[in-house]
Amino acid sequence: MSLKQKLLDLFKRIEKVQTGGGTKAIEKQVAMGKLPARERITTLLDRDSFHEYDLFVEHKCADFDMDKKKLAADGVITGTGSISGHPVGIFAQDFTVAGGSLGLMHARKITKIMDHSIKMGIPLIGINDSGGARIQEGVNSLAGYGEIFYRNTLASGVIPQISVILGPCAGGAVYSPALTDFVFVVDKISKMFITGPEVIKTVLGEEISMEDLGGAKVHTEITGNAHFFAESEQECFQQIKKLVSFIPWNNKKKADSLPPRPPKSNYNVENIIPLDPKKPYDIRDVIKSICDDSDFFEIQKSWAANIVIGFARLNGETVGIVGNQPLVLAGVLDVDSSDKAARFIRYCDAFNIPLITLVDLPGYLPGIDQEHAGVIRHGAKILYAYSEATVPKITVILRKAYGGGYIAMCSRHLGADFVFAWPSAEIAVMGPEGAANIIFKAEIAGAEDPNEMRRQKVLEYTEKFANPYIAAANGHVDSIINPSETREFLIHAITVSANKSEVRAFRKHGIPPF
């Protein structure tokens, strides 16, 4: 055979495998609003940047007549490429090949590209679209899942791991995305659950649709399992590209800096906050009035909305922002918002992203449901995450900072490097009403007009304690600043912290209140 003939043979082989599960199966995939697996990769990555590996891998199962079945690329496409010039490792399960089912070789292709990404220090993107374990392969398909979870864990905090759910992802398979940093879902396409509607019906007699059990909306609004919601696969890919622009390739690098851009003029920081601490506003308007180009990339927008997290840029540098949201539940900390913030803080700390905390909260949410849901254990996560973080930590107290909420929101006491307060800040053990009712209980009860006495005492307390000056007098706050100077103070703080180093005692790892 001449080289030319050998090449023709190669092309024929490639073409055969690249048709995946065949034209009919691909047509079915497309009819569901889903792109074929290889097209998903080429759409997401920079044009012509995708290099595929292990195209000719075959499964080795001989049971149940599997030896007579050829599965193109064993149902998963793996390789490397780039997004806006950033190199990435990627895999995409091909639902047209045996339902994207995971057998041992399918899993080994995935673990190989995972190992490769860890070694090269590049982000890994996994596109999930699979019916689950390949039952014919028995315990070997379970082995495959386990080997993936193991690597997800080893890669955690070393390289960014992004999971994209573009089809079913059920049973044990859900635990790979759950172990990764960011999960993207698409409306009506993504389905994630441990046990599906069929099992729930037979075992428990309860009926529910796949969409209501584990659709994209459920995971972005109720469970918090997903971080980004999109209406279409195209929109989802745009979100991934944007995320990648904010994060570094690995934990030894810093995120790319871009040319600095001022905030847009329609976000004026001085006009956002009502002076009455009991009136709400949208904290995202404050963020947009501070960050470059007023461009705030919010994460987990629809879940635990009483806290807002996301990435932005200050003077061109990526920062992670955590802010209480007075517009939802008065911005309190509770079980879900603590979980949400704590995980994000740890992400930023692992990947060298400075943390900016914007504080305006009345404290923790009271309630039997919260106590019984373990708000002690969950609330502790935010204390742990902030205290543990060694990236630059900059806190701005906008208005209320009461009680345990004040401590938890990256106070000086948890190791904040810079604490600024606006003149509107109220740093106190609790709100004036609650404090006056306790401290002046006897006076109020004994007064001729208890309501008038209460009003007076509340006013007295407000004037004396509802301000930032007592905290400033104790050095808990570094500077009381004009709100319009906030951006300038933050940029300066980040510049000063460029070479921050903090050495901690050796330990294998801490024991956070998981």
């Binding site: 428990l204 007699g205 709400p280 007075p326 709100g431």
Partner: protein
């Protein structure tokens, strides 16, 4: 969230104007456990009933077998008393459905 969705929430005697979440609005009100009412802890099948109405039971006596998740769960009496209500064998029960009432 538009401003006409604003409600209020009380924290440490202060009333804050704010939006409320679905989860907050749907939170369950707490009910203390009534030991006399034995409810299904899991949805399942009443496979066998060992007691009938009027029986005297001691704490720990077997009441019934609730089959769920391929497991035959034995449900015992939490306290001593006289049986007032029992389920029929072979029926499916929902979670938290009343199985046995002890007086």
């Amino acid at each position: 969230m538009s401003n006409n969705n604003l409600k209020s929430i009380v924290i440490d005697d202060s009333v804050y104007e704010t939006g409320l979440t679905k989860k907050y609005l749907n939170r369950k009100t707490y009910k203390p456990v009534d030991q006399k009412r034995v409810n299904a802890f899991i949805p399942g099948l009443i496979q066998k009933v060992f007691v009938k109405v009027g029986d005297k039971v001691k704490a720990g006596d077997k009441l019934l077998i609730l089959e769920a998740m391929k497991m035959q769960n034995i449900v015992n009496a939490p306290l001593a008393g006289i049986i007032r209500v029992v389920p029929k064998e072979g029926i499916l029960v929902k979670k938290n459905e009343l199985l046995v009432d002890i007086e």
